[in-house]
Symmetry: C2
Subunit: 347 residues, 2 copies
């Protein structure tokens, strides 16, 4: 991919340190913005596409079928156990592409910075984006910097859009989900949200709970290339597993039943949820996804996804309840779509 | 492009009116976010790609060579004479694509909304985006909504990323600019910035100054298809004409000399600049671009660009001054790159 090497222990470049904080003028199109871009962003992201230095990047893609997605990231705090807004902004968009069956190739990076942000903070975030992009196999191909007055933003917001290439003709989409399909989750759920909440509320647990934020493109694409009959995949983010299942049940015109005892929730996450009054099935992940596969493909899918993946339920003909949960004691309850998120600004 | 018709006089849909203001929960991944997306954004944007309802849009593009760009928009106020943040967010990104010689096809729309924004305001902005997208020949293919707490944003920020297709093998880039090339501007400069400033400062002029915000893709692509020997094009935004020329002179390793008397500035804009203490050459446009063409192509370029375009100067061998201005009285002065923008948050 033409990546250039980078020393990740490098500290914020000197010319930028003359300005230890971001000024409004750093977004003004003049020499300060030029130096912010060339000294900070280009040094961190450092690849031949960005080095073209034009407003739009020229890219070659190996086929005429692509996937295109965007997400903005407004998470508080900017740094959290297991990640930061930079790595999250790369993983989230890469994962959205992979969920449509595309191989992520390029992302854009749009920064909306609040005047006064420490330059060192921005540098650490940019380094983290580069590291996450390298690990995810994508290039940061184009970018933009805006600065808003102090009190009109919150540190930094990041938007990433992503382009992936569809290397196969399979349609991976909610419309492909049919009664009888099995529901798999790729790992334990609720960890990202609880990691953020623990920081915000200053809680200390016996073991530190780290976000699950990670790129899932590689394993998701392995599912497809291995011949697993995957109908649909969806990453589990805002609203958690329960919200994703509700969205997909409605889109696909089916009902879904899942078994509580099969849904992997780590013990420390379950304990924190108890303490904070959250239902882990509604708490965000950032490195987990749900896959809908035909019954014959379940074993192969679980083998590829690894030891943390579980088959948690199945798709039924549509009835009055989109998603229901079979509890540990055998009762069935509705897993409704909540009106909002239990934890705002989780991504 | 599969556009569906829309009544632009339609008011904000009823289900959304139950919530006259945006709540934090509208960004939470639950039922309120679903209804904001389906009732407001999908109604306004309304096209078959968005209707796929997946996290990433699947797109067919007619060639394997594309351009990719992104910009965030943080303009204050949200509505101004001649446009609003929605139309600006479409024009800006479409224009960036066109400047690289690409035909704009698809854009993404990422909204960062401050809790408490009037739903009707958001609806008007979305309608304006749709109208601008129709006029620019692009589809809004994918989107994202985030809500931040009151006091942590400023009404709404919008990011758009864009994909265009390169239908030719010509490299339109700063690297192509050579001594002897002529510099053309596509119309009068400085109008966007002054229109914004007039609103902010409550100034009334005899004639209302409207922003020049507009898509320039169609005329820019006509230049290329007509056989004009265009080396580079760059839209004139933050920092105005002077900043664009400085950026390009440095990228291309040349010097540029322009003639003050050839640069088109409307009389009312010049008068307002006098009054406000601005230099119109540093004031942003949002529907103007600079084109560098070979001398033999100047007449044809001016014919295609229309009666407001002017040839304003030429490219020289690199000397100690990147950009200089030959004044009305024949003296030569440096047109330096300023440190920031005279008018913050202009786009």
């Amino acid at each position: 991919m033409g990546l250039m090497s980078l020393d990740f222990s490098m500290s914020c470049p000197l010319p930028i340190h003359r300005y230890p904080h971001v000024l409004l003028a750093h977004g003004g199109g003049g020499s300060l913005m030029q130096s912010l871009i060339s000294e900070l962003f280009l040094k961190a992201f450092n690849n031949p596409v960005l080095a073209q230095g034009h407003d739009a990047a020229r890219l070659s893609i190996p086929s005429g079928k692509i996937a295109f997605t965007t997400d903005s990231y407004v998470i508080r705090p900017l740094f959290f156990p297991g990640g930061d807004i930079g790595s999250l902004a790369v993983h989230g968009t890469v994962n959205d592409l992979a969920m449509s069956g595309a191989r992520p190739l390029y992302i854009s990076a749009g920064f909306i910075i609040e005047e006064g942000l420490e330059m060192e903070t921005l540098w650490q975030i940019a380094l983290s984006m580069r590291k996450a992009a390298d690990a995810s196999g994508v290039l940061i191909a184009t970018g933009d910097t805006k600065v808003v007055d102090k009190g009109k933003g919150d540190g930094v917001f990041i938007n990433t859009a992503g382009i992936g290439v569809l290397e196969h003709d399979r349609l991976i989409s909610p419309s492909q989900i049919k009664p009888g399909d099995k529901v798999i989750v790729s790992g334990d759920v609720g960890r990202h949200g609880i990691a953020i909440m623990a920081v915000r509320s200053g809680l200390e647990f016996e073991t530190k709970i780290e976000s699950d934020s990670a790129p899932v493109a590689s394993v998701a694409l392995s599912l497809l290339s291995s011949g697993v009959d995957a109908k649909c995949m969806r990453d589990i983010t805002r609203g958690g597993l329960a919200s994703v299942l509700n969205e997909l049940a409605v889109s696909a015109g089916v009902s879904i039943e899942v078994n509580e005892c099969d849904i992997p929730v780590r013990e420390d996450v379950a304990a924190a949820c108890e303490l904070l009054g959250f239902d882990p099935l509604y708490v965000a992940c950032e490195g987990r996804f749900a896959a809908f596969v035909s019954p014959a493909s379940v074993d192969e899918a679980l083998r590829i996804l690894g030891p943390e993946a579980r088959c948690i339920g199945e798709v039924r003909e549509k009835d009055s309840v989109p998603v229901s949960l079979r509890s540990r004691i055998g009762t069935r309850r509705v897993l409704a779509l909540l009106s909002g998120e239990q934890l705002p600004r989780i991504c």
